[in-house]
């Protein structure tokens, strides 16, 4: 089963990815993030969706729906505007969920 990869973010952040064969989905308005995310996940075409941290936060509710299923993997990445640390925070939250307290990265 071969699926595609998508990168979702503002124009600046996703620019380079289309050149290497990844579907770049432009979403310049953070408020549209949920709607756009919903649209691209509808067809179950993508196995991995990289999403800029900014939009990740906005579309959090939609993304949560896929947290129990194996695909798509929704991965926050820093956008062109820099790193907000959500990715690492997410990782810490996994550790917290599993262990009960954040024992790895304090």
């Amino acid at each position: 089963m071969v699926k595609n990869i998508a990168v979702m973010g503002d124009r600046e952040s996703v620019k380079g990815f289309s050149a290497v064969g990844i579907d770049a989905i432009v979403c310049d308005e953070p408020t549209d993030a949920s709607a756009v995310f919903k649209k691209i996940t509808e067809k179950d075409k993508y196995a991995v969706i990289y999403i800029t941290e900014e939009l990740f936060e906005q579309a959090h509710k939609e993304i949560e729906r896929y947290s129990e299923s194996a695909v798509p993997a929704v991965i926050p990445i820093p956008g062109a505007r820099g790193n907000t640390g959500i990715g690492s925070a997410r990782l810490s939250s996994f550790v917290e969920q599993a262990v009960g307290s954040d024992i790895l990265f304090k």
Binding site: M1, V2, K3, N4, I5, E12, S13, K15, G16, F17, S18, A19, V20, G21, I22, A47, V48, Y50, S67, E68, A70, V71, A73, I75, I77, P78, A80, G82, N83, G87, S88, R90, L91, F94, V95, Q97, A98, V99, G100, L104, F105
Partner: protein
């Protein structure tokens, strides 16, 4: 701890004892499962953390390359040269079972006519900074896919560990003590019944003997 609402009979007690045994065995197995899951999770999460730091660093470098490129090229030219792609990247999704958790395994499938020629544009009207930028993203791709796999794996495992831990705790602190207490209650009740029937029998025996030999008249 509240005891269960059961009839204090011998049959009920045997049944409960069997259930207690099952609960103990289940508790032991779940505990083992939790420990093993935890071990693998810690390993994975540490690798995940390392990889995430690396990918975040590299991505910052990539966007720096693009900023360089956009500084020397017009926005229009830049956008149009990146519009199409020679390479098609897909992901082959398989699944792997780690302690009953189904985690995905991603294999990148890249289709490009020529490995060394990935640039979707001619070199005549573009700057070399753009080449750098595209190249750096291409090099980062395997790491990003590995990161996706690991993060999904950690996410699923964390949920499973939490569930397993809840089960272990509920067995350990609620179910097993409750069974034990109920069994104790039934066995005490049965002993009590035993004693009461014994005293009754003794009493009846006394009364019968009394009637047969007329003890009370003789003394």
């Amino acid at each position: 701890m509240a005891i269960m609402n059961v009839n204090p009979t011998r049959m009920q007690m045997t049944k409960l004892k069997k259930q207690l045994l099952t609960a103990r065995r289940g508790h032991k197995m779940l505990k083992d499962k939790r420990d093993e899951l935890m071990r693998q999770f810690i390993e994975k999460v540490q690798e995940n953390k390392r990889l995430r730091d690396k990918v975040e660093r590299e991505l910052a470098r990539c966007s720096a390359h693009f900023i360089n490129a956009s500084a020397v090229m017009s926005k229009k030219a830049l956008d149009s040269s990146l519009m199409s792609s020679k390479q098609q990247t897909g992901i082959e999704v398989k699944s792997k079972n780690i302690m009953s958790v189904d985690v995905p395994v991603f294999n990148a499938v890249t289709e490009s006519p020529n490995e060394s020629d990935i640039f979707p544009y001619g070199f005549a009207f573009t700057s070399f900074e753009l080449d750098d930028a595209v190249m750096s993203i291409k090099e980062l791709l395997p790491d990003m896919i590995r990161l996706a796999e690991l993060e999904k794996c950690c996410e699923l495992m964390a949920a499973e560990i939490e569930r397993t831990r809840r089960r272990v705790n509920s067995l350990e602190h609620v179910m097993i003590p409750r069974y034990e207490e109920t069994i104790k209650y039934i066995s005490m009740k049965l002993e009590e019944n035993d004693r009461s029937s014994r005293t009754r029998l003794m009493k009846v025996k006394d009364m019968l003997l009394d009637k047969a030999h007329n003890y009370s008249e003789r003394y």
